[in-house]
Subunit: 241 residues, 2 copies
Amino acid sequence: MSAARASGDGTTPSSQTGSGEAGAAARRGGAKAAPDKRRLILDAAVRVFARQGFHACRVADIADEAGVAYGLVYHYFGSKDEVLDTLFLERWQVMLELIREVDAEPLPVREKLRAIASFIIDSYSHDPDLMKVIIVEVTRAANSFGDTHIGTIRDAYELIGKIVQQAQDEGVFKAEIEARFAAMAFYGVIEQLLTGWIFDLLPQGEEEFERAKSVVVETVCGGLEVGAVSGGTTAGNRLPR
Amino acid sequence: MSAARASGDGTTPSSQTGSGEAGAAARRGGAKAAPDKRRLILDAAVRVFARQGFHACRVADIADEAGVAYGLVYHYFGSKDEVLDTLFLERWQVMLELIREVDAEPLPVREKLRAIASFIIDSYSHDPDLMKVIIVEVTRAANSFGDTHIGTIRDAYELIGKIVQQAQDEGVFKAEIEARFAAMAFYGVIEQLLTGWIFDLLPQGEEEFERAKSVVVETVCGGLEVGAVSGGTTAGNRLPR
DNA sequence: AGGTGTTGACTGACCAGTCAATCTATTTGG
DNA sequence: CCAAATAGATTGACTGGTCAGTCAACACCT
């Protein structure tokens, strides 16, 4: 289930600094092992970025939050920017992978889209701070990180576009609405819901998150109007009401 | 027509700094009048913010772009922040007004939503830089301007929510999808399209903008699936392609 | 003579990134 | 099995540059 993947912790997503770190890996093989300062810093950064925003926080804040010395941040990361880059890529890569997997499976479109929506919403549910940072500081940040990662971001849109395209080829989705637009619409709805939660404009909670998954798919696929298709959600969904 | 209102120039949307400025208004009554430095600074700021981002630009950049001295920026605005605040409020206020007007008129939901979508897209078409700044620096910026203006932003969502609610009461929109969610979805689709244009992920141009208006309404109201409602749009554009 | 508009040099605070020193663990060679 | 050597981890004071905001002076109008 996609929800499972949403929590990809403890795995220490490998290098990023580029330096050799075989020694650290070996040491970690033991028992409790050293608290892996690199991870500690990343996690602290998420909290600090979410709380104060990337621009408003100082590197010292991250170090303090992580309980390490200032200089250590620069031992593991080349710059303040690189910390954010790492956080973003770590998560976005996992999402791209999931979308590719979903795309490969022989599922009805609704299910594919639902899987994607579920992944993103579960990601938020599992670590709201991280998703807040990604959306606020990267995904929408032209002239800074958004620009840097535009290629990676675009990949996601294109993968979703492919799914829509296929549905159109199969005659399940209307052909008049360009796949590219449809993909943006779908993603836009999800991101706006997260934004609503981030800004505390919408009620949050497991229940709401579950409901949101259905709402997203139902809205985008079936439309808001009565008389439009009202498919069931996950399982069998052909019955017209 | 909503498109007309999207271009609210030459009118100098009045005060914002709060100080008395009757003198300026009187002088402007003449002919060409002084170039209204305040406006000059605001327009320059839009360009600079759009080009470099709010955080990455210096106040000196704004002054240079406007062709005025550094200190003059502080004569008209209390701070760098206030410049952005002014730009945002100026435009957002107009949008709120439009939504209220649209809401008051006895139109079918599709038309109301189309009018709103048209306004926002026309705004972008008319001044992409300004919309870029508003979306990138305010609308999605938790922990900075988004937080400051959250109330004003929320107003828009709620007004749209009211329109959806009404459609539900009339039995035109499905009741299962909470109006609040639906409103967010609608707005989210629009903002994501703008984001696509801002990041150059979607083709731009008058033609695309026009098409987008229909796509937004059609997607959100009728859904992507075949068999869903395929309503016409505003004027005489019933023909499918 | 007084007020508003305009100028740009200056300052005070702030902060990313550097670096030399210290500490800890692992390896080597005797 | 231990001491010296090596390498990485960790520390935090310090620096160099940046920039928002101030201010005193000047320009122009009435």
